[in-house]
Symmetry: C2
Subunit: 436 residues, 2 copies
């Protein structure tokens, strides 16, 4: 059974604090192994990547077959059913429409001193998207990673998608094609991250790496951070549903299970202002678990990490929600906008009972790569912003330099940085000579 | 002597590639020591911070004196000369005016399906700014880190500034006061980063940590990344000046030295289309080095890592600049805007010979915390964006769900995520019942 908490109970604060800090993931310490793999790929390039792929994915590659050929992708795309293709195309169009609005604007202005200031945005030169293999090979993740990069105008976009035993997911390849990916490499793990960061004879290095992965991929991303940009180190998925009694318990139950089925470490929490409704939802979850295909995953997740929290009112729910800082937040209440306005920390908010979180995973438009493990306190979901960077611009005139230069010179001297001061002084002296 | 390269030489490509990849910094491997310090602060809180401060900074603190009192800050601010105060206030006002324009806008719209989509921005809950102690205690860095956070609306803003032997810089305390900092702790090193990330009995944890620091601080930031947000792992400073022959060689020389004086590992590069002018600048650098206060730092930096590159024309200069992806780029040419338009990767561009880079360090308005070590390929300088995060919003209507829900259901099934599909199907079934 999940935990049942009630804010009216004297032990609530202790229990809630424990829920917040519970360690859900026992990630193996693979850092040394990953360091070795990265060093190997840096030293031996393609040969190392090929050996490691044979070892981990039981797949023999050559430099020529590291990437899928266009013919192979054509053939895979042709195997996708028209219905699946249409669904993927609709998702792709809606995700693109949402992200199109995220492109930030350049700026330029002249201030009182006469200085012209501003900034401009430009795309990263190349991006590499990691797509996990096996069961967790999700075409939707290809769209969610690649489309923001494409909208940003990234000139070169590659995917690394391991294909254990050579088995590829045609929908992944179609999703890559729909979102402007140039090349799909059939490699994975730390060796793929190393190849993307440092390059090999065959694989050109990229500037930014995004996408989820296992402990090896996460450790490798942390290690290459700085050499390249990375998106985030993602943890297990989470959902918080705030629901009043005026909901169908079964709808809320399947919503909770839609996170629980991802991973035994996933966490699904219901906050309600009606304890009886909370019990009804828990009962509905048990009923659904009897037949759910992924009950072997969703069951342990719900029982080990799930929680039903009864609050006095929705204001209290908002306060608890900000302490949780959930990745996904569903507001199944009469006035979701009003409740949403009270909440500061959440990756994505789904407003009203007609907006199940799964809509956001596939087709709503917003990105489904979202901050986990309370990191919505300080970070955002994936967006176009992850694939652009800003160059600041400044142009002084002689008049502007005369106005502000002496203060810069003084501050430089106060920091004992004489050459900084001299670089301003040399110009001010010229202006003074000219004025004489 | 610095390196002299010429793109017309047959060996140029090899020499330039070596310049790009030269390892300038031999950061000691302090990762194990830092892991120990972080574990100690997590386990013992204040007691560990106080012991480590006594050990490393030779300063005895108590929980009550970890932070400067308001009286101490008042007294320090009163010791600042009116001229220094005026310079700091002008800098503060100009930096604030620039960053005020960076606040991103919320968005909300209704699409063809009837779905309401959008996002909103909110500040991180608390930010901790690290200000290195000793020689590198820069009040300008306090402004550059704290003002973007203040503009973002961060409700709690703290500074950690070590004071070895108890010596504090009054300008640092005044800069903190001018930029809305709530509390200044006189602690530093990995112990300060650990205290900011995990909190102690006295120091409340923050959500985001920014600011430069030594190898211990950098390693600690990398380790706590994920628990909190961090800005970047900064390396030694760099400047690239592109200058034609129509410049005063001495101006360019002091500009190059203004980076070289930061650090023996700093790098200053001149690209010019006139070899004779390049020689004149090198001569001017040597002349300035004879008397420069920090010649013991600037000299080795220039001789070990400096370079003068002669190019055929400015178009070639732009191509090389993008390969360097400089932190600071000065364009001292007749039409700097035209040259700037050809360049994609740079942290900050200074347009025209009247805009020495030092203006940007102090008073221009743009931020001086900028991507180093070629990371301008994929990252931006510090900005308001580092202190806000985005929550995406979606609200479906029954009609919108009817339009796009079946595709979401299909995609969920294709990914074997049945509960995702059921959460959409449960609602679609209700709509179908209602329609019958």
């Amino acid at each position: 059974m999940p935990q049942f908490l009630d804010t009216s109970d004297p032990g609530f604060e202790t229990a809630f604090a424990a829920l917040l800090t519970a360690k859900r993931e026992d990630a193996p310490d693979v850092d040394d192994a990953v360091a070795g793999i990265i060093a190997d790929v840096r030293a031996r390039g393609d040969a190392a990547v090929i050996e490691l792929t044979a070892k981990f994915d039981r797949l023999d590659l050559t430099p020529e077959t590291l990437a899928f050929s266009q013919d192979e992708i054509d053939a895979a795309c042709a195997r996708v059913s028209p219905e699946d293709r249409a669904a993927l195309e609709l998702a792709s169009a809606r995700i693109r429409a949402y992200h199109d609005r995220q492109m930030p604007a350049d700026a330029s202005w002249t201030d009182d001193s006469g200085a012209t200031l501003g900034w401009r945005w430009s795309p990263v030169g190349a991006a590499g998207l990691y797509v996990p293999g096996g069961l967790a090979s999700y075409p939707s993740s290809v769209l969610m990673n690649a489309i923001p990069a494409q909208v940003a105008g990234v000139p070169r976009l590659v995917v690394c998608a391991p294909t254990p035993d050579g088995v590829a997911n045609p929908l992944v390849l179609l999703a890559a094609r729909l979102s402007g990916v140039d090349t799909v490499y059939r490699i994975g793990g730390a060796q793929a991250i190393a190849a993307l960061a440092y390059g090999t004879e065959t694989i050109a290095p990229v500037d930014k790496i995004t996408g989820p992965g296992n402990a090896y991929v996460a450790a490798a991303k942390r290690r290459v951070f700085g050499r390249v940009g990375i998106d985030m180190i993602a943890g297990p998925s989470e959902i918080l549903v705030i629901a009043d009694a005026d909901n169908d318990p079964d709808w809320i139950a399947v919503d909770l299970l839609s996170q629980a089925e991802h991973d035994e470490s996933a966490q699904s929490i219901l906050i309600t202002d009606d304890a009886t409704f909370g019990q009804a939802v828990a009962k509905a979850v048990e009923a659904r678990l009897k037949t759910l295909e992924r009950r072997a995953i969703a069951g342990p997740s719900w029982r080990d990490f799930g929680a039903v929290i009864t609050v006095r009112d929705l204001a209290e729910a908002a306060v608890l929600s900000d302490r949780i800082a959930p990745e996904h937040l569903e507001l199944c209440v009469a006035d979701p906008e009003a409740l949403s306005a009270r909440i500061t920390h959440a990756g994505a908010i789904f407003l009203g009972a007609w907006t199940p979180e799964a809509i956001g995973d596939y087709i709503g438009g917003p990105n489904h790569v979202l901050p986990t493990a309370r990191s919505a306190r300080f970070s955002s979901g994936l967006s176009v912003m992850d694939f652009v960077k800003r160059t600041t611009l400044a142009r002084m005139t002689p008049g502007a330099l005369r106005a502000v230069g002496p203060s810069a010179e003084r501050l430089a001297r106060s920091e004992s940085l004489e050459a900084h001061a001299l670089s301003v002084r040399a110009r001010l002296d010229r202006l003074n000579e000219a004025a004489e």
